[in-house]
Symmetry: C2
Subunit: 307 residues, 2 copies
């Protein structure tokens, strides 16, 4: 089924203990679309870039089956740019530069071809912009997944709460779940957040995996233990992309299928962190994806028969 | 099969954000034996207490099927006492008081009835004392599990390395695995530690679960997401007790059975943290244990069929 992805398409410059990059392509919608492309064949991207964004990167997205009809290219303007430095533990980072550029007055335009999308992934963006996308759709999608971050909780909580109230699945990290709920316990935090609107909450814990909650059930997916996490940038977006891409392809939004979707999302995130930027996420084979998912199965499956 | 447990039997005084206790009973061997008692029926404890240790607590251990033939009671002396305060995150703590008392010159004596034990659990103690226990056995146990901590890495690394070299399974937490190996990546840390002697390594990550490694395989068990972790004291020992108790009962030390054993260990730890001290670990029913293990199954099991 058709999947609409909204979010940034941007430049990143990244420093980690393993090295640093010049400007490379990044952005939430880039990671989400690439990860989703291994599952869903009908993906529409809504975003904005400047004319400085490399044509070959746009071709790369098209080659992954991502329709760019909804991508605005602003002539003579510059793409959104973020630069950050990761600490040694790879779980925390400092932002060095944020240049909004074309993102400063981003007015999303959903193309006709995507206005009846069945699945909508709202990558991290200003909550008002996320609402504008929903307002342009002809019908309510079967599933809306929202990603957001602490930044919007700090400066636009009212608008964020309005957006959260109208989505089906919310994804945040553990610190953001605590900030949003005012609860330290993630179980209590989930209970409170599930009263704010979403039917399902995903709490991302980075190298410590992810928790999936609805009002009655909880599921946990680990992160794959890797020799090195090379660059965590985009891991959460790749996770979200694999998650919604799998759901869109299987057309099944039951809790049991979301468990599978979280494993596929975790697998895509585990690829992303192995190299800088999107490098590892481009041109994977089905066999590579399957082998990675098998590693997750081997990592957590056991057989206990209780009498 | 018979299980010998060596470690402290002690008093603790604990402060957490939820409250504080006066002196209550604790100690690694206490938690290990209680947790193991839900699986293994032939448990021998080797430890030392002073005459201040409450008789009813010794009766409680006996009622759990733990033989105290190897427990030395030093007349007129005082039991080991530890006092600590947990921080708000419950993952870190400050030691307020450590009074070694009878532990200062603890010379373990393995009773005849336990000298041919099949399973040996060496709870956290001075490495030299742990070696003295092994030296008294008539035959090499089928499995020796060693728990230790950063304190011995700081002050007795040579003796600790000698002990590590002769055991089958080592359990440490993530910070200790990093200290022992000099590697930040837990995967690399495990590879190095498995060259030091043990065939199997368990890295405990507290609320983030536990990893089981041998040279070829890795398994991950989550911690149960709880509304509140009331008191983490003894969680690691309860985990170890459930782990080795299950192995001793099933007489199967394959990697696949260790996966099951880790789930049972995690279940026992999840009980321990729900109340202060050993309170929650005393007098559980088989139905309660089974229901808890079922929660772990529900938490992580999913079905993905790769073609």
């Amino acid at each position: 089924m058709s999947l609409l992805v909204v979010g940034t398409v941007a430049f990143d410059a990244i420093e980690t203990p393993f090295g640093k990059t010049d400007k490379i392509i990044g952005g939430a919608a880039t990671y989400i679309s690439l990860a989703a492309s291994y599952f869903s064949k009908d993906i529409h991207l809504v975003s904005v870039v400047g004319s400085d964004f490399p044509k070959e990167s746009l071709e790369m997205l098209k080659n992954h089956g991502v329709s760019l009809d909804g991508l605005q290219i602003k002539e003579g303007e510059k793409s959104f740019f973020w630069s950050g430095r990761y600490h040694n533990d790879m779980n925390s980072r400092d932002t060095l530069i944020t240049e909004l550029n074309v993102l400063a007055d981003f007015d999303p335009i959903v193309p006709e071809s995507a206005k009846d999308c069945d699945f909508l992934m709202l990558g991290n963006l200003m909550p008002v912009v996320q609402q504008k996308v929903i307002a342009q759709l002809k019908k309510r999608p079967k599933l809306i997944v929202l990603d957001t971050m602490n930044f919007w909780m700090d400066i636009a909580m009212d608008e964020l709460m309005k957006t959260i109230a109208i989505v089906d699945v919310l994804t945040v990290n553990d610190a953001e779940a605590r900030q949003l709920s005012g609860e330290y316990s993630l179980v209590k935090a989930a209970q409170k957040i599930l009263l704010m609107g979403p039917k399902v909450l995903i709490i991302k814990k980075g190298e410590h995996g992810a928790l999936l909650f609805n009002k009655e059930q909880v599921f946990f997916a680990p992160a794959l233990p890797l020799e090195d996490v090379f660059d965590p940038t985009g891991a959460g977006d790749s996770f979200a992309g694999g998650f919604i891409g799998y759901l869109a392809e299987t057309k099944d939004i039951s809790f049991d299928n979301m468990k599978r979707a979280i494993i596929f999302g975790s697998a895509m995130a585990s690829f992303t962190v192995e190299k800088f930027g999107v490098e590892r996420l481009v041109g994977l084979t089905q066999a590579q994806v399957d082998a990675r998912v098998q590693e997750f199965i081997d990592l957590v499956q056991f057989d206990i028969s209780l009498v």
